[in-house]
Symmetry: C2
Subunit: 422 residues, 2 copies
């Protein structure tokens, strides 16, 4: 029987020593009531909360879990490397091996730099674009998430207008809006940031229009600016290359993170020769950027990406999840919008403007052992099996039944409503 | 016999796939010729390069190595935690344990947030100071290092003037300069950044003047702004508390990193109740900020910090190193300036304006198995023994003899001279 007594006790302690009780993307403040905040185990496709409740986890650590938690081969590489060298006074040769491996795998890339946060990689891209021709203006799609530093964080606290003085916003997938923004930047255009597809919270995902992508490439070429694809969220879940390779458009820079080390902390910026000199002009660094263990994990992860059918398997599993959910919804009289790549599914209910259906559905599924998000794209991992999806659909079937039965008494989330008002 | 054939071969490969061959603080571009770039082992007090040369390491990974590389108790905590949960869909209870432990150890702190880079922690401090009373101006000591994001990186590449529009610089340790800067900020003063002591590269270190520190505190109080101590570099090497506790001045925020996990990737921002509401207003996060393994390492590191004489031992070892070097220098007819805390020594030669003596000395010591820096403060770790210092002094004695013999033929570093001209 699901309960969360220990989780609630931990929240009380956390409220004393952590501002707001928790922060950042892993705070469950915005999740449906009762969603566990703390977890004690993660193995394969499952996470276990402090009260011992186990869940099939469709958030995958918000991305990093690509191959399954505690993956035996990746963790063997981690342990072997830990015995040799990790964080030290210089990098290990693995930094060269890993740069070569990424350059070998990602078509547009001639070089690699490694860092820790996705924000590190996107900020390096911002700086390198500006250093490239000593210009200032950078085009960014409205609402696209590129990290949580002052220039990019989605909330206003602690941000001054100057942090974004030279950013020009445009509507994703709109070639005309992009063209207008580039015109506005004129001969001060440094770079164009592109999300591989639109994956904003609380919204349907939208795949990139090829014309839009080609327009971005053409403008960058014509105005001698750098095109950046932020693949931190989607990398290696769309293709074994930069995600825009699927539509035939190559950026100058691409930002990577999350999946690279299957949970070991590493991110990366890749670039082409055009951007190389600019990349060597910026001074960027971090205490742990040269640590060897996450690079060993990344090398093993990339070997698996290269040599196995992990991607095709994830696509099949993601397809089963999608079809199963949509069919169930129809059977119970609901309509779902299941958008984006099947490996990064966003699931929203039709006719649910205040998300009360989605919230109640996810809460009901959670109590039956399936961890879904009502507002953020989810993630498939390669350890998921058909049996996991069957078990998931059993839980979601019961969840649909629940919300159908209680439909008239469902209320919107108070926290969500308060946030939406600001 | 020291040689670096494999290191040079790796550098050739790196030059193809990493901009400039290497980047950031672990690039040896500015070190004396021949300094190894790549290392394959780190154990206790020693690092081994790719050619099999072993060094007593006085850089300690530029800080993180506090207790010795591959420390048995810290690594046991790491392995035990790896079997349970690391990077997952939520934090583990360890985030609460660790926040409580830090609040228990650091006098000014009522709460903690965790992140990865030192830059994350200092940037959170910047944002929280601005969010506190919705003001913009932040006072920063000229040349103080607070990270490598656009607002703080020490080199101009990729930085636009707006990144620092609301920073006001003052001379470290000068109460009048600080007072003038605060006056300039007026009622828009958000915060004051203080390094625990001055530790700029290529310069003597200066301990904080108590009057300067008290002035900083007084101004923050009078103008209702937040005082920040950036303890990323010096934390737990000066005292088992915030470094300014030694002079009786408590900040509102302190930034921590490097030593926290003895090499496992974790940094932290601590704050008091005055700053709590502002801290909960900023949205900051990172893919790996909630990972449990570095928190397990940090908890074990803090246990050792609390329960052992690691600090007194480091102070004794650092004192031996200082006295030994200064005595040797005098015996060979050189004068050294050995500044800063003995656990974070900066060693510069008198009468060495272009650093040729320091560079030649460090190169000679390096070839005899002792890794020193001619321009950056060094770090003592708690695994160092009196035998390590004896072995070190044997190498440095020979190095002094070397540079005395070759004094007239020494040349300044070309790379350094080129950098100093820009």
């Amino acid at each position: 029987m699901w309960n969360n007594a220990k989780d609630r006790a931990l929240r009380d302690r956390a409220a004393q020593v952590i501002p707001g009780g928790m922060y950042g993307h892993q705070s469950t403040a915005l999740m449906p009531d009762g969603f566990p905040q703390f977890f004690t185990r993660a193995e394969g496709t499952r996470i276990t909360d402090t009260d011992g409740n186990s869940y099939i986890d469709f958030m995958c650590a918000y991305g990093p879990n690509l191959l399954g938690y505690n993956h035996p081969e990746v963790m063997r590489a981690v342990r072997d490397q830990q015995a040799l060298i990790d964080t030290a006074t210089g990098p290990s040769p693995l930094i060269v091996d890993l740069a070569e491996a990424m350059v070998g795998m990602v078509s547009h890339a001639d070089w690699a730099m490694f860092c820790k946060n996705g924000s590190d990689a996107t900020t390096m891209a911002l700086m390198i674009a500006r250093a490239y021709r000593d210009r200032r203006k950078v085009l960014v799609a409205t609402n696209a998430y590129h990290g949580s530093l002052p220039w990019s964080t989605p909330r206003p606290g602690g941000v001054v207008p100057e942090d974004r003085a030279h950013l020009i916003y445009f509507d994703y997938n709109d070639p005309q809006a992009l063209t207008d923004a580039a015109k506005q930047a004129g001969d001060d255009l440094a770079g164009i940031f592109a999300a591989p597809f639109r994956h904003d919270t609380f919204a349907d995902q939208t795949l990139p229009d090829a014309e839009y992508a080609r327009t971005a490439r053409r403008i960058a070429d014509e105005q001698d600016a750098l095109l950046v694809v932020d693949d931190v969220r989607a990398g290696f879940r769309v293709t074994r290359d930069c995600s825009w390779e699927t539509i035939g458009v190559r950026p100058d820079l691409s930002a990577w993170g999350k999946v690279l080390g299957n949970g070991q902390p590493i991110s990366s910026l890749l670039g082409n020769d055009r951007a190389r000199a600019a990349a060597s002009k910026v001074f960027v660094t971090g205490s742990y950027w040269f640590s060897a263990v996450p690079m060993a994990a990344a090398l093993e992860t990339m070997r698996i990406v290269r040599d196995t059918n992990y991607l095709e398997h994830m696509q099949k599993i993601g397809g089963m999840f999608r079809k199963g959910l949509v069919d169930q919804a129809r059977d119970f009289g609901f309509a779902l919008r299941h958008t984006g790549p099947e490996t990064l599914p966003m699931v929203l209910f039709e006719d649910d403007p205040d998300f009360r259906l989605g919230y109640a559905f996810c809460a009901a599924a959670m109590k039956r052992g399936v961890y879904l998000s009502p507002y953020h794209n989810m993630f498939i991992n390669a350890a998921m099996t058909e049996a996991d999806i069957s078990e998931t659909l059993e839980a979601t079937g019961a969840a649909f039944e629940d919300i159908k039965r209680n439909r008239d008494s469902l209320k919107p989330s108070q926290v969500l409503m308060a946030m939406m008002e600001t």
